[in-house]
Every structure is written in C-alpha cells, then in structure tokens.
C-alpha cells in the first residue's frame, strides 16, 4: 500500500514536471523540468525491473541531455519570447527604414 501511494505520488510529480516544462517560458526552468521527468522515469524503470534502461536514463537523461541543453541556452537566449521578439523587431525596423 505504501509502495502504491509512493508510485502514484511519483507519477503525479512526473506529469506535473512534464506540463511545467512545456508551459514554462524561462527555458532554463523548462530544461530542469525535463531533468526531473528523467529522474522519476529512471526510478520507474528500476521498479518495473528494467535496470539496464534505468542506468541509461539516469546517466543520459538526467546528466548529459540536461547539460547539453543548458550549454545551448547559455549560448543563445534564456527567455523563450525574447528571440522571437528580437527577430520581429528587426524585421519591423527594416521595413520602416
């Protein structure tokens, strides 16, 4: 029973984190949300008797993918709307001039 409650709570957190990372406009927090999804997924894989997949998910999903996205954000922009706004403004300025 305790395990069931734990699993349901984990599943709720997983779905919440997934929705959070889609809705979030700050890309850094969105990436951290996907990291949380991977963390809970790897626990689920372990409970469902797939330790191989759990190790892969833990190493690649939590560490490597998150870091690669963070590096990408550092080299581009952190705000989702800013990049689009910049381009629209540039286009408008060119049109006016």
């Amino acid at each position: 029973m305790a395990l069931l409650i734990f699993l349901i709570a984990m599943a709720v957190i997983l779905i919440a984190a997934a929705i959070f990372s889609i809705m979030q406009k700050d890309l850094l927090f969105a990436v951290l949300g996907t990291g949380v999804v991977s963390l809970i997924l790897s626990v689920f894989f372990y409970i469902l008797q797939a330790p191989d997949v759990a190790i892969t998910e833990a190493a690649i999903g939590i560490a490597l993918t998150t870091i690669i996205f963070i590096i990408t954000i550092r080299n581009t922009t952190r705000d989702e709307n800013k990049y689009n706004d910049d381009h629209i403004n540039k286009f408008k300025n060119e049109k006016d001039a």
Partner: protein, 248 residues
C-alpha cells in the same frame, strides 16, 4: 512527366515491399510467448543465453550476441553524430586564440567554480570512472553494459570540465582510443567471419556461468563499446563547452 513517373515507380515499389513484408507477419499473434512455448523468440533467448553462451544477463546476450550487428550500427550512428557535431562546431586552436585576444571574452565559464564544488568533483571523479568501468566490464553479469558504462564515464568527465576551468582532455589520446575501440569491434566481427564463417560469430569457448571471463567474445565487445561511447560523449561535451560566442 519523367520525374512524376519515377516518383510513382518508387512509391509503388515501396508500397509493394511493405505490403509483402506486412502480409507475412502474423499481426496480433503471441510472438513473445513463455518458456513453456519454446517456439518463440523469447524462450529461445532465455534458454540459450545461460545454457549455451553462459551469460547471466540475457539482455547483454541479445544486444551483443544475437543482435550484435545492430549494436555495431548503433555505435556507428553515435560516431557519425559526434563527427557531425565536431565538424560544425570545432575550430582550430589558433583561430580560437586569435579571436579570444581580439575580444577578450571567453564564453566558457567566466567565473571559476567554488572550492566546495571543486573539492567534491575531485573526490567523485575517480569513483565515477571506477563505477563506469565496473559497469561495462561486468556487462554480461550485472545490469548495464557498454553504453551505460560509457555514459557514466562521460558524466564524470563532464563534472571535471564544469568545475575546473583549466581541465583539458588530450584530444589526440581520445581520438586514438575511440578509433582503436571501433576498429577492435569490427576486428572481433571479422575474426568471427574468418574463423567461423559469419560476422560477429561468438567463439565456441564460453567458460562457466557467472565467471568474469565467460561468454566468449561478449565482454571484449562490451569493453570496446564502453571505451568508444565514453570517449565520444566526452569529446562532444568538450566541444560544446568550448564554443566561442559568435554574437557581436
């Protein structure tokens, strides 16, 4: 007109091939089965891997032995991805230094990490390396294998790259290790082809179940895969962390 004809021919060929393939698959039939039904694939694997191959971890036996050629394909996909990334993002050292002098900005971690992070990374780094090597050497005995161990080693290098500004990989050694590991995998496959008549054929000698040296060529292949994946992912992270900003 000719173009359209060729397109129609291609689509027709594709459709015919798919139709023939799918019509021969009994969709919906129970192909997984159980040990009671020895006609199925799963029963074959579950029976063969501990009894004939003497491999305790059935997943490893499937990935490296029964589906070894697929694993070679996966490794080459990873290699191509890393090569593509490197060819887009890598710049020569001199060019980088020149630009750095010009702009006086290095986008890689402008501030050094705190000493707490640095000390922790220094303590954890050898342990992570050891865990990764353990995972891929014991691939045929415990869960995990070459890909998992390689990814774990790459996270260890990532920790060092992030916490120490001056931490540099020796690119030459990495590239050599990667190439030798890839060649080793192919060499093992060719050995099977020459000696036993089919690519990646396992040796007849398999040892005892649960021994470290058992399962024929499986541990050897997984060591090659582990080294290859670790060096490739480390190189990818190194290149990504050293991107110079191209913004004005």
């Amino acid at each position: 007109m000719l173009k359209k004809l060729i397109v129609f021919l291609l689509i027709g060929t594709l459709g015919y091939t798919l139709a023939v393939t799918f019509s021969s698959i009994p969709i919906g039939a129970n192909r997984i089965g159980s040990l009671d039904n020895p006609e199925t694939v799963a029963a074959y694997y579950l029976d063969k891997s501990p009894n004939d191959l003497k491999v305790a971890n059935t997943i490893t036996a499937v990935v490296v032995n029964f589906r070894g050629f697929d694993t070679l394909g996966e490794v080459s996909v990873l290699f191509l991805a890393a090569t593509g990334l490197a060819s887009i993002l890598y710049r020569k050292e001199e060019e980088e230094e020149e630009e750095e002098n010009k702009r006086h900005i290095s986008h890689r971690l402008n501030l050094p990490s705190s000493s707490l992070v640095q000390t922790g990374a220094k303590i954890l780094f050898p342990l992570i390396l050891l865990l990764g090597i353990y995972v891929f050497i014991h691939g045929h005995l415990t869960p995990g294998g070459g890909f998992q161990g390689g990814a774990i080693i790459a996270t260890g290098f990532l920790l060092m790259l992030v916490s120490y500004k001056g931490f540099k990989n020796n690119h030459k050694i990495m590239v050599w290790l990667e190439s030798l590991a890839g060649l080793g995998f192919v060499g093992v496959g060719l050995y099977g082809l020459i000696r036993y008549g089919s690519f990646l054929q396992n040796t007849g000698w398999t040892g005892n179940l649960n021994d470290l040296v058992s399962g024929g060529l499986i541990p050897l292949i997984y060591i090659f895969v582990g080294i290859k994946v670790a060096t490739e992912l480390t190189n990818v992270l190194d290149i990504l962390l050293n991107i110079k900003s191209r913004r004005k």
